[in-house]
């Protein structure tokens, strides 16, 4: 899942980037409001983390402009003052959640995961599709409660597919959401990752979890387990 981070404090920005990447999230970072707004307008993000006190363009304004341009990905605001007036202003402008500085990275990641789940209609913190279960916090993936090991990009791919169960996802979409903006892209790599994922998720070829839709992309066919969706 691809995250837009707009934060002017260099140390916090770099550390947050690193922490989010460790959790296998794809992160693009911007140091000021203008750059952040540009990225937000140009690329398909799944969630944005925006500091309210930004140079050039305030966080509130960035949120308002993104919402005005009908960008509907969830937004988490970071406030240094932590005053309720700030929080209300941010949420009224179009943000979905807030976090006061200083924050724990665990807290930030939990909030981001919650927003990602919410946006795609998942309620429980652990995503379960048929026998497959994925825990975005610990990044543990298991099949029938048997843990399996995935590489970073395999995990990112599965995370995205699970948050979009039943939907056809094109290769470009997959590339857009699992790679950073300046990454060297090669759509053939996706085919390789899918192939490996199928092998790991379905070694005896009885499940067939990922369907190939010729010319259109891929689809995770497994049903979400009922208790984990929002009615």
């Amino acid at each position: 899942m691809r995250v837009l981070l707009i934060e002017d404090e260099q140390l916090i920005r770099e550390q947050t980037c690193q922490k989010l990447q460790q959790k296998n999230l794809t992160v693009d970072a911007a140091a000021d409001g203008e750059e952040g707004l540009y990225l937000g307008m140009e690329y398909p993000y799944d969630v944005a983390v925006i500091d309210l006190g930004l140079p050039k363009l305030s966080g509130i304004e960035v949120i308002q402009r993104l919402r005005a341009a009908e960008k509907d990905f969830p937004i988490l605001i970071l406030t240094a003052r932590g005053s309720w007036q700030d929080k209300v202003e941010g949420l009224e402008a179009g943000a979905d959640d807030y976090l006061a500085k200083p924050f724990h990275y665990e807290e930030l990641i939990a909030r981001i995961n919650a927003l990602l789940r919410r946006a795609s209609g998942w309620a429980a913190p652990i995503l379960k599709c048929g026998p497959i279960s994925l825990n975005p916090t610990s990044q543990d993936v298991s099949i029938n409660k048997q843990g399996i090991t995935l590489t970073a990009y395999e995990y990112r791919l599965l995370h995205f597919l699970m948050l979009h169960t039943g939907q056809v996802v094109s290769k470009t979409e997959l590339i857009d959401h699992i790679y950073e903006q300046d990454h060297d892209r090669d759509s053939n790599v996706i085919e390789v990752f899918i192939k490996r994922l199928r092998q790991k998720l379905d070694p005896d070829k009885s499940l067939n979890p990922i369907e190939t839709m010729r010319g259109r992309g891929y689809r995770l066919t497994l049903e979400r387990s009922s208790e984990s969706t929002i009615s």
């Binding site: 309720w84 929080k87 209300v88 949420l91 009224e92 979905d96 807030y98 919650a114 919410r118 309620a123």
Partner: protein
Amino acid sequence: MNRLSLSNRLFITVSFVLIAFLSISAFSLNTAFQASADSTQQKRLKNYVYSLLTAAQFTESGEVKMPDTLAKPEFSLPNSGLYALVSDEKGTVWRSKSLLGLVIDPLLISQNTETEHYSTIELSSDTQVLNLAYRVIWENSIGQQYIFIFNVAEDLATLKQQKMGFERNLWYWLGGTGIALLLVQLIILRWSLRPLNSVANDLRAIESGLQQRLSNDYPTELKQLTKNINALLDHEEFRRKRYQNSLADLAHSLKTPLAVLRSDIQSTADLQTLQQNSSKQLKQISDLVHYQLQHASTEGKTSLQAPHNIKDIINKLTASLQKVYLAKQIKSHIDIKDDIIIHADEGDLYELLGNLLDNAFKYCRNQVKVTVEHHEDVTKIKIEDDGPGIPSELHKDVLKRGRRLDTQMEGQGIGLAIVGDIVDAYQGEIQLSHSQTLGGAEIVISLNQ
């Protein structure tokens, strides 16, 4: 450009009105006097005519004979200023001795058919007279009628002198009164505006630190203003003290976690234990900073606060929290009359209600209820939820946590401590109990307005 001072404005307008008033009264007094002087003279002339008529002897043949001496000696003195002339249809029949050497054309004055006719006649280049031509008809015993015109003229110079004298007197008096009134007015203005000057002086004294607040002996009209300025000054002082206290408390309370951190760093060999310990201390430091910052920035109660509609604020906060706790699908019941307003700082209200509602949303299962009632100057804000509630033995500690942060309580934020602090700053009351309707926590805040 500087605006005109109050005393100048008053002085200019009042002077203008005074001068206009005095001029108009002078003009009307003068006009009235002139008219009355004129009519007096006319009456006098008429009396002279009557006395001449009394003295005159009419004969059966239609002649008139005047005695040699008349009651008024001026008629007999040449150039005396009082003249008489009697004429009939044929011409002058009698002239008073005072007319010696002067010419009055009887035709000029006898043409009129009226019984009485007043006219101003120029006797010579520097003498003007007011003349009364009075027509009498004499009927003899056989019924023949003869017409006579009695002319009496009096020099206008006396009258003119009288008029001028009056005018002069009038101007002297009114001018004098005007100047006196202007002076009195200046003194009154000085005196009545003196409280304003002393406010300015007091404020200057406060600015330079010679005085703490404005003195109390001001006239009623200024009392409200000076009272508010004093309230503002007191509030500033209160805030300054609050800042000082916060700073001192913060510095003091940071020492403990910092000392613990330092000793941990020196003595703990195991990295994981160090991380755990230090993150606990850091959390405490962060809470302390947050609490003291909030404490310092709380405005507290002042007399000059704008009113805020409490329903608007609560609606905004619940809408925001609904978004944050979307996954919980919380039902919020808000029971507030539209017109309840609170005189308090907006930021304080947001902090107070934000923390309370956030706790309610955080700990509820899926219901939150907010009730605000206003009764006899007391606004009661009740917030209930259907969560596990706060155990009654912790009620006191929860509110005091900010002041005694070293007593750690897991699971509770410092939200309620901040709430307690703000309520204190407004001299309000806070009560924690169990909700009768929803079964969870119930918090009632009472604020005096």
